[in-house]
Symmetry: C2
Subunit: 527 residues, 2 copies
């Protein structure tokens, strides 16, 4: 069935070997059937080998010329493309996601690697700064001071189940860490081990092709609680990228904080992504907004970190019209295969819990189908919502809760009591702008991305993207895990004082051999 | 004695009131005499008032035009200067530091506020980015994406004992937090409550003069374990700046991490600031380096975070010459009054502990004087140093340990096993450059600042400064607490997607009304 044979091996530092700590299998998401081959799980020896190799690779990799680092990222993209259709076919089987979505995700993943190649070539992320010496300054001379960012060291990456390409083995965390100059050790997600091996081999091939030390990249299979925790606890690992559940993320945060030398964890955890329907927009466009909402809600079986899990609007006939249209659209939306049986079970439990919660009514549910999940829509009053904080818990999948607010005051109160979110979306007509303007300060404190007349489900890989947000949507709201700014998670500044020019890094030499834009005496200066 | 009368009051959100949770007194550092007045300590009601006012001030303060924010910072500097000599006189009494040092520190403090005014006017810290919509892109249109940094919210600042002006009430943490748009609540250091009140009143006067909400600034007296911990635990506080001991910093980190919503703590804690003497420099300049070293060691009674507490060099006649000169200089260095009796006691204990440690010899000690601390110099072999990790513990004061390394290999091993440091200094002649070049990668991983032919004690307030470093020198090695980059600690990025131009913040409007340099489609673009 596959042009590229899968071996089930671990990909450690340029080599492949079968893990000996038991096996994990992939399951066909649609049929539940176990798939071949068996993937061997890593033991502590594998972990040790991987960490030692990553540490050994750090110095040669970080000092590679930036142009070569950029080509390496582009080579990874080419190698992923070279896998061809086998990648899509395996991904469809392992995740149940449709072909078009996976092809789009592959494009996104390769585009992301190429964007980071541009970022590396641009060099702005290095934040080069020069304050030249002022030998005659009174009462004290100023020394020559120069600053650049350097990479933190080897990074551990935990892939997500819901984006088997874009947030997995060669996804955003890996791409941005490699762009920053950090070797990467990926703990592959057990829901798509075959895709992980295919992509991991593509990265490994790029490492070989570019003549880099093998330790630049490792991919391990294994349990999060064992090999994952061991990875985060290893003193050679200097930062962690994670996308997944709140429990999983917080467990890694705890491990990272209690190390002898704590390290940063960038965990993107959970979000219900409130959608606010402003009065004029609701009055003029209830039906099209409802249709767009249900399309966003059911996209990819609702398996997006940015899925719209909460809708806020003022109660009344316009909201009734929205609910009527949304309920019909939900009732017409086909059930979809979810990523894993476990995720479907959790979704079904979440839907049952919501349906039984005090004051909550189910107003729409899609037709059932064996082995698939149906979308579901609920309503609750603003008062009951405020009284039951558990209603803010994420139900991962195509379920959403519409809160009928008494007035805009109650809606604002709800916004101000919500936990931190990845996104908040507002549907507004021009007549809503004054009220929206007054609400905006609260929205930007609530979320990492504020959007108008859309839904958060599309996360553009761009320079101005923020896929992050206040705790607990992420463990560190100062960062983004998508877009070019994601590179900033993996470096730190170093100041060089009175270094002879010959010993300065190229970024800071007087002749500016890298032609960087540098901040000289505080002023950005073209090369 | 003082032109400005001290009242001992708390300065809460534009008002002054006497704290009712007991009192704290200042002590004359030279005589040990208790000084007037009594300073009233804050209770939970004061804390509540301060936090509520800071939260209320956040929105109006962060939306103040940047030009006005800059003038506010400059007004603080003017108000501090307007205190006149009373500030210096009180600081001399409370800290035992000499007049020239305190006058220099005042200049630095006011210069720092003015530097941040420039940073605010420059606007580069806002990181404005625009990725314009691509409505015709296939297969999917790109939305309009715009990014800027916004401030985190009210910040708690803990002043240091050793810089009563530059790292205290209106020091670097306060200046950078205010520059970022965050209200500040300062927990005044109990070692200089009078200076704190004087400076606090200057900040308060600037708040009033510029017509800002009182909650922009509060200064509280109280114990770190009570009012300090309460401050860090308060949900309205969004970040913490701290300079002090490792135990104190880590206690705040723990509190911040175990809040329902954790917050970042920027704690600058401890460092022994290794000094490496390279062979050629040692051969050619043992005597002048020794003299400069002892001058740096004894500056301000050694009470610098960047004090050179460790010297590494290859054993031999050149190191003997260095030690001979350094020992003589130490023996000739007068005893100095330390900041507090407690700090002197801790120093004396540290010196005794060092002197009694296995393999350690005392090779120089200054003449004793009642109530003052004498500098002390010790040596140990590289082998004994490596065998006794406790020898790396900071002794706060003018004590240093010279490690006689067997060869450059052992010296490198020591560098690679040391904990994270604020600074590492190297003394090198041109003949040393090849060896130094090979050592540099290890040095930049060790410290936040690498300097050649100098000592870390002068921390220039500049754009290219890093006063930070890997754990445990700070709790977050990605940050600096001195220099213009310190502002980056107190903001986070927000993305605005498809917002109508009228609702966009000025930083991101199409017309660029703030004339910012913005990154458009990834390319930095002049206004």
């Amino acid at each position: 069935m596959f042009a590229v044979p899968l071996t089930g091996e671990l990909l450690i530092a340029g080599a492949a070997r079968m893990g000996r700590a038991g096996v994990v299998h992939a399951y066909d998401a649609s049929t539940g059937d176990q798939m071949e081959p068996a993937f061997g799980k890593a033991d502590n020896t594998d972990l040790e080998t991987a960490c030692a190799a990553a540490q050994a690779a750090f110095q040669p990799y970080r000092t590679l010329p930036y142009a070569e680092r950029a080509v390496f990222l582009e080579t990874i993209a080419e190698q992923i493309e070279a896998i061809g259709d086998a990648l899509i076919v395996r991904a469809m089987a392992e995740t149940g996601l449709p072909r078009a979505r996976l092809e789009g995700e592959r494009t996104r993943t390769c585009g992301q690697l190429r964007l980071f190649a541009q970022v590396v070539r641009d060099g702005g992320f290095l934040e080069a700064r020069i304050d030249p010496a002022l030998p005659n300054r009174a009462p004290l001379a100023r020394p020559d001071l120069r600053l650049r960012n350097i990479p933190l060291g080897p990074v551990a990456v935990f892939g997500a189940s819901n984006f088997p390409l874009a947030f997995s083995v060669a996804g955003g965390d890996t791409a941005s860490a490699l762009a920053a100059g950090c070797p990467v050790i990926v703990k592959a997600h057990s829901a798509h081990p075959g895709v992980s091996e295919l992509v991991g081999r593509a990265v490994q091939a790029a490492v070989t092709k570019r003549g880099l030390p093998g330790g630049v990249f490792t991919m391990l299979h294994g349990d999060g609680r064992e090999i994952g925790q061991g990875l985060v606890a290893d003193p050679r690992i200097k930062a962690v990228g994670f996308t997944g559940s709140r429990a999983g993320g917080l467990a890694l945060v705890r491990t990272a904080q209690t190390r002898p030398v704590p390290i940063p964890v960038y965990a993107e955890m959970s979000s219900i992504n409130p959608v606010i329907l402003m009065p004029a927009a609701l009055a003029s466009r209830a039906q099209p907004i409802a249709n767009a909402f249900v399309a966003a809600l059911t996209l990819g079986a609702g398996q997006f970190c940015t899925n719209p899990g909460l809708v806020l609007a003022v109660d009344g006939p316009d909201l009734d019209a929205f609910l009527k249209a949304a309920s019909s659209a939900v009732a017409a939306a086909p059930a979809q295969v979810m990523l894993t049986a476990g995720i479907r079970l959790a979704y079904e439990n979440g839907v049952s819990r919501l349906g039984e919660a005090r004051g909550v009514s189910c107003v729409g549910v899609g037709p059932p189908a064996a082995g698939a999940a149906s979308p579901a829509l609920f309503t609750v009053s603003g008062r009951d919502f405020l009284a039951h904080p558990e209603l803010t818990e994420e139900v991962f999948g195509a379920a959403s809760l519409v809160v009928r607010c008494q007035d805009m005051g109650e809606l604002r109160t709800i916004i101000e009591t919500l936990e931190g979110q990845l996104t908040v979306a507002v549907h507004a007509d021009e007549a809503d702008h004054p009220q929206l303007g007054a609400l905006l300060p609260a929205l930007e404190l609530l979320a990492g991305r504020v959007l108008v007349n859309g839904f958060g489900t599309g996360v553009e890989v761009a320079h101005a993207m923020v896929h992050g947000g206040p705790y607990p949507s992420t463990s560190d709201g100062r960062a983004t895990s998508v877009g070019s700014l994601a590179i900033a998670r993996f470096h730190r500044p170093v100041c060089y004082q009175n270094l002879p020019d010959t010993l300065l890094p190229n970024e800071l030499k007087a002749a500016n051999p890298l032609s960087l834009r540098r901040r000289i005496d505080g002023a950005l200066t073209a090369p």
